[in-house]
């Protein structure tokens, strides 16, 4: 790791282009998405009708519950519901 010259520094910097902004933003929104997931899973555990709605059309049920059905929320919720 010692003695990088300027050319090597430039070459190494080139290896780390920014990730697509949308990906970064989605990852940064994880804490909020996580809170949404916790609420939805808790409701699904207690409310059989809501669980049926989720199983029928996950995205629509999430939106109807007042949450943004982002791809992360939908795919994660699908995984979590399999365990309910």
């Amino acid at each position: 790791m010692n003695g990088f010259d300027e050319e090597t520094i430039g070459r190494l910097l080139r290896l780390l282009p920014p990730a697509p902004q949308g990906w970064v933003q989605a990852a940064q929104e994880l804490p909020a998405a996580r809170a949404v997931l916790d609420e939805l899973v808790a409701r699904a555990e207690q409310d059989a009708a809501f669980r049926v709605q989720l199983q029928a059309d996950l995205e629509r049920a999430v939106a109807a519950a007042g949450y943004e059905p982002s791809p992360f929320v939908v795919s994660r919720l699908r995984q979590l519901l399999e365990a309910v």
Partner: protein, 183 residues
């Protein structure tokens, strides 16, 4: 010189529930995770996106399991690596032997990316305007003209500024190495 927090300090803030810390965490490591997916394992863009989100989802959920806050970079690398391999295997279920990439090749790329992250950390410590200029030129592949327009500096001075900034990063790296050497 910018005052940058160490990885360990940043992880500690995430654990403490600091709302800004997670954003900084993603910002700091997003390029690394992205590079492992795209350069290390050459995942297609949609696969890389899935793995990228899964890495940060698991990191968020399991940060408290990290044994040493200093070890977050290798921990993320390992997590990303495992998920990339899982994805490759999933994509080649009918021919699983074709899924696993050349291990030595992946090791080499990961070692180089680790060096790149060290350089990136030194650049963060140097701070702006060097960080901005070098990032635009090397990482975003912007032309002298575009950089000059964006930063409102003459395009004819960009090359010399890049040269001076690279020297600053090298000096910063040398300082790090001396600081971590035997006393």
């Amino acid at each position: 010189m910018a005052v940058e927090q160490s990885d360990a300090q940043l992880v500690s803030r995430c654990r403490a529930g600091d709302p800004d810390a997670w954003n900084e965490f993603v910002e700091r490591f997003s390029r690394y995770v992205y590079a492992i997916c795209s350069r290390g394992f050459r995942l297609a863009q949609h696969d890389a996106e899935d793995v990228f989100q899964e890495v940060f989802a698991r990191a968020f959920e399991r940060l408290s399991e990290l044994r040493s806050d200093d070890a977050v970079r290798p921990w993320l690398a390992q997590l990303t690596r495992r998920l990339c391999i899982d994805r490759l295997r999933l994509n080649t279920r009918d021919a699983p032997s074709e899924a696993d990439p050349d291990e030595q090749e992946v090791e080499d790329v990961l070692a180089t990316l680790d060096d790149a992250m060290t350089v990136r950390a030194a650049l963060d410590e140097v701070g702006d305007p060097c960080r901005d200029i070098l990032d635009r030129f090397f990482c975003r592949d912007e032309s002298y003209h575009t950089i000059g327009d964006a930063l409102e500096i003459p395009a004819g001075t960009i090359a010399s500024r890049i040269s001076r900034c690279l020297e600053k990063v090298r000096t910063q790296l040398d300082g790090r190495n001396q600081g971590s050497g035997p006393s």
